[in-house]
C-alpha cells in the first residue's frame, strides 16, 4: 500500500504492544504502528524507502500469545495483543543471529564497519557471546572488480537491502539473489564480477548495507560514522542538484551519502558519491608565477598587468562554481577587453531564445512548458527521452526514468547513438535522421492522425504520438544542441499540453544569467577559472591555453593545464565553496562550506575581485 493511501485511511485500530495501548491506522504494519508509538522493535533487513520482506526475522513479535509474525510485513488488526520484548522472542532472534554469524565470516575486529555495523549492534542487544552453531568458514573471495564498490560476501547476511535499493530506488536491477538454496548469495546480473556488470557505481547499495558486505574502499577505515560531523551541501557535478551529506572527521572527508528523506531516496550517482572523493591530483595551495612560488599579492599584480596589457582576453569559467563566483568573474572581466565561455551557457541561451519565440508564436507561458520539479517526471503516463546520454550526465534523473518505466509509465527513447535506456524502453527509436525529424513526424501524427505518415518503417513514431494523449514529459538530454529539435520538442509539448525537463550540459543554470560571448581567435591572454574541473572541461581549457601567449589559471589541483600556465592562482575545492547554484528545475540550492580551506586563500571571489582593479 502506498504512503498516500495509508495517510488517507483514517480507520482507527486499537492494539496492545507490550502492555501499552497503541492507536494505529488500518493498513499500517505492526512495525509502523509501534514506531509511531515510540516502541522499539528490532530490525535488520528493513530500511528507509524500501519495501518490507521479513527476511531477517529480527522483528518477530508474538501475536495474541499464539503465533509469531514479522512486524514489518504484518498489518495491524483491531484488538491485537503484541509482545516484542520477551525472553522467548529474544532467544529466537539470538538463534537467527548465531546462524548468520556461523554461516559467513564475521570478523568484527578488522571490519571497516566495526562500530557502525547494525549486525554488531544486534549481536550486542541479543547478547551473542558464543555460537552454538558450528562455524562454517566458507571460502569467499571479495569482489574488488569495481573501483568504488567492494562486495565482500563474507559479511553478507542476505537481508536483501542492496537488492531492493538497486531495484526500487535506483531502478537498475543489477543486484539479485543467486544460487538459491543453502548457498544463496548476492549476485550482480548473471553472477558476473560487479565491475563487469550493469552496475552504475552509484553506491546506493553501500549506503543501505547494514554490515560491511558492501563498502567503498574510498571510505574504508577512515573513521566511524558515529564519530563524524555531517554537513550538507549541493553536488556540483550536474544540474540535478542532489543534496550531499558529507561526513567529516578531524578536517577530513570520510564519506558522502545521499539524503534518505529527500526525493531521490538516498541515492547519489558515481560522480557525487565517489568521484568527488577520488580526485587524487595534488592540491594547489600557493600562487606561482613562471613556476616559482610567489606572494599572493605579487601573483595578482602580474595577472592584472597581463589582463590590462592584452589586446584581448579569452576567459573560461567552470560551471561547477556557485552563481556568486561566476558573477564576480563577469564583473571583473567587464573592466577588460574580454570574452567569456562557460559550459552550458550556449545551450541555455539557445533554449531561452527558443522559448521566447514560442511564447510569442504559440501564446504559451514558458513556465507552463517546464516541469515544476524534476522528480515529478515519475508521475507521467509517458516519458519521452531525447538523448539517453543522461544516464551518464544526469544519473539520478535517469533513475527516475527507470523507476517510472519499471512501473506504469510508457518510456520512449530517441537517440541517434547507443540507446542507454533500451532495456527499459517501450519504444526505442533509433533513426538515422536527426532527432528533429522524429519530433517533427510525431508532431505531424499528433496533429493530423496516423494518415499523415504512410511509411510503416516509422511505426514507433505513430506509437509515440498515440501515447501523448496522456500526461507526458519530454526529457531533453545534454547532446541536443540544435534549434530545430528544441523548437519541435517545446512546440510538441505546447500543443500537447505537456512539460519539458531540460538537462543541458551545464551544471549550474545560473550560467544563463551570466553574459557570455564567442571567444576571440587572437586574444593574447587566457584567464581560466578552472576550479576542480577535469575531463572534457579541462581539455577545452588546455586548448584555450595553447592559443594564448600568457595563461592565467585559477585551479584547485595540479593538472596538465597548470603545468602550462604562466600564473597559477589557488582555488577552493568543492567542499570549501559557499554560494548558490541553480538546478535543472530552476530551484536555488545552497552550496555550503563543509571544511575550512586548506590553501592560502579563503575565497575565490576575493581574488577575482582584486583582479578587477586595473593596473595603472
Amino acid at each position: 500500500m502506498s504512503k498516500a493511501t495509508q495517510s488517507e485511511a483514517e480507520t482507527g485500530v486499537t492494539l496492545e504492544i507490550d502492555g501499552r495501548e497503541v492507536q494505529a491506522r488500518d493498513g499500517q504494519t505492526i512495525l509502523e504502528a509501534a514506531r509511531e508509538a515510540g516502541i522499539d522493535i528490532p530490525t535488520l533487513c528493513e530500511h528507509a524507502n524500501l519495501s518490507n520482506v521479513g527476511a531477517c526475522r529480527m522483528c518477530l513479535v508474538e501475536v495474541d500469545g499464539e503465533r509469531n509474525e514479522t512486524a514489518c510485513t504484518t498489518a495491524v488488526q483491531d484488538g491485537m495483543d503484541i509482545s516484542v520484548d520477551t525472553d522467548e522472542l529474544w532467544n529466537h532472534r539470538r538463534t537467527m543471529l548465531e546462524m548468520m554469524f556461523a554461516d559467513q565470516n564475521h570478523y568484527c575486529m578488522y571490519c571497516e564497519m566495526e562500530g557502525d555495523c547494525e549486525l554488531e549492534d544486534m549481536f550486542n542487544r541479543a547478547g551473542l557471546d558464543s555460537s552454538r552453531v558450528p562455524l562454517e568458514y566458507p571460502d569467499i573471495e571479495p569482489d574488488t572488480s569495481n573501483e568504488y564498490v567492494t562486495m565482500d560476501l563474507d559479511r553478507c547476511i542476505g537481508c536483501g537491502r542492496c537488492i531492493r535499493t538497486c531495484d526500487e530506488i535506483v531502478g537498475n536491477g543489477t543486484l539479485n539473489f543467486g544460487n538459491r538454496g543453502r548457498e544463496t548469495t548476492i549476485v550482480a546480473d548473471d553472477d558476473v564480477p560487479l565491475g563487469e556488470s550493469s552496475c552504475i557505481s552509484c553506491g546506493s547499495c553501500v549506503q543501505a548495507c547494514p554490515t560491511g558486505a558492501l563498502y567503498s574502499p574510498l571510505s574504508a577505515y577512515k573513521g566511524r560514522e558515529r564519530d563524524c560531523e555531517v554537513e550538507t551541501t549541493t553536488c556540483s557535478e550536474c544540474s540535478v542538484g542532489c543534496e550531499l551529506e558529507v561526513f567529516t572527521n578531524s578536517g577530513r572527508i570520510v564519506k558522502i551519502e545521499g539524503n534518505e528523506d529527500g526525493p531521490a531516496g538516498g541515492q547519489l550517482c558515481e560522480m557525487g558519491r565517489f568521484e568527488l572523493l577520488a580526485d587524487g591530483r595534488e592540491r594547489i595551495t600557493e600562487p606561482r608565477v613562471d613556476g616559482e612560488t610567489v606572494d599572493l599579492a605579487d601573483a595578482i599584480d602580474r595577472a592584472r598587468t597581463a589582463l590590462t596589457e592584452a589586446n584581448g582576453v579569452n576567459a573560461f569559467a567552470s560551471d561547477r562554481l556557485p552563481r556568486e563566483t561566476l558573477e564576480a568573474l563577469s564583473e571583473t572581466l567587464s573592466e577588460y577587453d574580454a570574452s567569456v565561455e562557460i559550459p552550458g551557457a550556449e545551450r541555455a541561451a539557445l533554449e531561452s531564445d527558443v522559448l521566447a519565440a514560442l511564447e510569442a508564436e504559440l501564446d504559451v507561458e514558458t513556465a507552463d512548458l517546464l516541469v515544476d520539479s524534476l522528480h515529478d517526471i515519475e508521475d507521467s503516463d509517458t516519458l519521452v527521452v531525447y538523448d539517453t546520454g543522461i544516464v551518464e550526465t544526469h544519473p539520478v534523473v535517469a533513475s527516475y526514468v527507470r523507476r517510472a518505466a519499471n512501473g506504469e509509465t510508457t518510456l520512449v527513447t530517441i537517440d541517434d547513438g547507443t540507446d542507454r535506456l533500451e532495456r527499459f524502453a517501450d519504444h526505442s527509436i533509433e533513426l538515422d535522421a536527426p532527432t528533429a525529424t522524429v519530433t517533427e513526424q510525431v508532431t505531424d501524427v499528433f496533429e493530423a492522425g496516423t494518415e499523415a505518415l504512410a511509411d510503416a518503417a516509422i511505426e514507433d513514431v505513430v506509437d509515440v504520438s498515440l501515447e501523448l494523449s496522456g500526461d507526458a514529459t519530454f526529457v531533453l538530454g545534454p547532446d541536443v544542441d540544435d534549434a530545430e529539435t528544441m523548437v519541435d520538442v517545446f512546440g510538441l509539448a505546447a500543443t500537447s499540453d505537456n512539460d519539458v525537463l531540460s538537462l543541458g550540459p551545464g551544471r549550474n543554470r545560473a550560467v544563463a544569467d551570466v553574459p557570455t560571448d564567442d571567444l576571440e581567435a587572437d586574444a593574447e591572454v587566457a584567464y581560466l577559472l578552472a576550479a576542480d574541473d577535469r575531463g572534457e572541461d579541462l581539455d577545452r581549457q588546455i586548448e584555450l591555453a595553447r592559443g594564448a601567449e600568457t595563461v592565467i589559471v585559477q585551479a584547485t589541483r595540479e593538472s596538465a593545464l597548470t603545468e602550462i600556465a604562466d600564473i597559477v592562482l589557488p582555488a577552493l575545492d568543492w567542499f570549501e565553496r559557499e554560494g548558490t547554484t541553480v538546478d535543472a528545475d530552476d530551484d536555488q540550492r545552497a552550496v555550503e562550506r563543509v571544511l575550512d580551506p586548506r590553501g592560502e586563500i579563503d575565497s575565490d571571489r576575493e581574488i577575482i575581485a582584486e583582479l578587477q582593479e586595473v593596473a595603472a
Partner: protein, 191 residues
Amino acid sequence: MSAQTDAEAQDNDRTTVATVCLGGCSGCHMEFLNIDHGLVDLVEDVDIVASHMIVDEKGVPEADIGIAEGVVTNEENVEVAEALREHCDTVVAWGDCAALRGIMSLRNYQDRDEMLEETFMGEADDESEVPFGDDEGIPKLLEDARPLDEYIDVDVYVPGCPPDADVMKESLEALARGETPEIEGDKLQYD
C-alpha cells in the same frame, strides 16, 4: 596465631584462578594487566596460581576457575584445553579467539602445509626446516583453528579483541563470589 598462619588461612579462602594462552597473541593477558591497580584489589579475593605473565607456572594446576585465551590451533592447545577442563571447576573463554574464533582462524582459508611452507621457506638459512610438527619438539598444527567450545565445554564467554580490562575484572569478581557474570550490552565487544 602467628602472622604466617593468618596469611595461609587467607590463601585457603581465596578463589584459585589459572589462565592459559592457547593460539592467541597474549593480547587478552596484556589487557588483563591493564586492570592495573585493580589487580591489587583483585588478588585479595583470587589467587592466581597459573598465568604466564604473572606466575612462573608452566603446567595447568588445579583451580576453581580456568581461563583460556586464544583458539585451539595445534595439538598442544588441545592438551592444555583438556587439562584446563579437567583441573578447573569453571572454564572461561577470554577474547574473540577462544569465544568466537577470532583473527587466528583466518588461516582456515588456506591449506595448512602450504601456509607453513610459504611462511618459513626462504626466510632462514640452509639449516632451517619448515616446522610441520612431525618431529618432537614442535606441536603439530591442526587442520583448522577452532574456538574453545568445539573441544571442551565452556561455562562463561567474555568476547572482545581484547575484552575490556574492566569487564575482565568484573567477570572474575563475580565468579569469585560464586555468581555467573552478566556480560551484555556494551560490555559485549567484538573488536
